[in-house]
């Protein structure tokens, strides 16, 4: 089972307060700017899946990530705390239903992350 690698220094900044992406000049500079919160695979998967869906339920995400209830809950909560995703709980008939949506801050974070990955690749090709 993969464990979260979130370290204290990885704590997310306040949503919406992150600076615009500046193209790093070296791979090392790119990694320093990396958003550690969504660098973790399950969290990156959650954000990526929500980027192409208006909303996904807990069970859909669990199946997509091929992970357990507990693991998904932990990672989803970290993203929620960073305001990268929003969670709504409701009832579908008598069954509880948890639905997640990507926030504007989460979408910007994914875009920044993609830019960083591309910058790393570009830096290597120089």
């Amino acid at each position: 089972m993969a464990r979260s690698s979130l370290q204290p220094e990885e704590a997310p900044r306040e949503a919406g307060s992150q600076p615009a992406v500046a193209r790093p000049r070296s791979p090392e500079a790119a990694t320093r700017q990396l958003d550690r919160l969504i660098h973790e695979r399950v969290r990156l998967g959650i954000v990526s899946a929500l980027a192409v869906n208006e909303a996904l339920t807990f069970n859909e995400l669990k199946r997509l990530m091929k992970t357990t209830d507990g693991n998904l809950s932990v990672h989803a909560r970290k993203l929620e705390e960073a305001h990268y995703i929003a969670c709504t709980k409701s009832f579908h008939g008598r069954m509880p239903r948890t639905e997640y949506r990507l926030s504007a801050a989460g979408r910007r974070a994914l875009e920044r992350y993609l830019a960083h990955m591309e910058a790393l690749i570009q830096a290597m090709r120089r």
């Binding site: 990396l34 899946a49 208006e54 339920t57 992970t67 290597m124």
Partner: protein
């Protein structure tokens, strides 16, 4: 417990590898981008297109083609296809809802909604064009127009889904274009090949690979 997403490439911090391993950094970045692309593709396919529904719609169209080919007038031929289209749409809607429920997904949210909303405008355009072409007596243009518009709807609806969905749409569009430049007598069989053949073939593939 098998967890291929974890095992394929753990998301350890690139900075730990140090500057002496530039190839590893580059490879890891590529791997991360590939992971994002795969996840988006898989997530985009979630509950969207019902494969079994496609097969049932295809069988309906094949039956309609046989019945329509035996009709004595164009009006009866048209009614046959319109009844089949209504039945196929109902099958598509019911199976889409069924697939969404089986996956515990919202029927009115997610990729299913995206697909349905993208498909509706070309279908509405097709309905209007059917009336216009019928009034103008341009009966021979109907099969091509139907196939082209349905294909356009599937291509746009499946733009964020698995690649097979827009590929199916392109197949419809190609058949539609061919129908418009072929003898009018072939129109019925172009409809059979598109709404019947393509729908059954892609429906079977979607059923097998993308969860029913």
């Amino acid at each position: 417990m098998a967890e291929p997403r974890y095992n394929r490439s753990m998301a350890t911090a690139p900075r730990r590898t140090g500057p002496a391993e530039p190839v590893a950094l580059h490879t890891r970045a590529m791997d991360n981008l590939e992971f994002i692309r795969e996840t988006m593709e898989e997530a985009g396919s979630f509950t969207a297109v019902p494969g079994r529904g496609g097969v049932a719609m295809g069988i309906t169209a094949l039956g309609a083609a046989l019945v329509a080919s035996r009709q004595s007038s164009f009006e009866r031929w048209l009614v046959t296809w319109l009844v089949a289209a209504t039945l196929a749409l109902a099958i598509g809607a019911v199976t889409m809802v069924h697939k969404a429920r089986a996956a515990d997904a919202g029927v009115l949210t997610g990729p299913g909604r995206k697909f349905a909303l993208s498909l509706c405008p070309p279908l509405a355009a097709g309905a209007v064009l059917t009336l216009v072409l019928y009034r103008a007596g341009l009966f021979a243009a109907l099969p091509g127009a139907w196939l082209l518009l349905y294909g356009a709807g599937v291509v746009t609806g499946g733009a964020f889904s698995v690649r097979i969905v827009p590929a199916m749409g392109l197949g419809f569009m190609a058949l539609g274009a061919a129908a418009l430049f072929s003898p009018p007598a072939w129109g019925n069989w172009f409809l059979a090949a598109g709404f019947g053949g393509l729908q059954v073939i892609f429906g079977l593939i979607i059923t097998r690979r993308y969860g029913g």
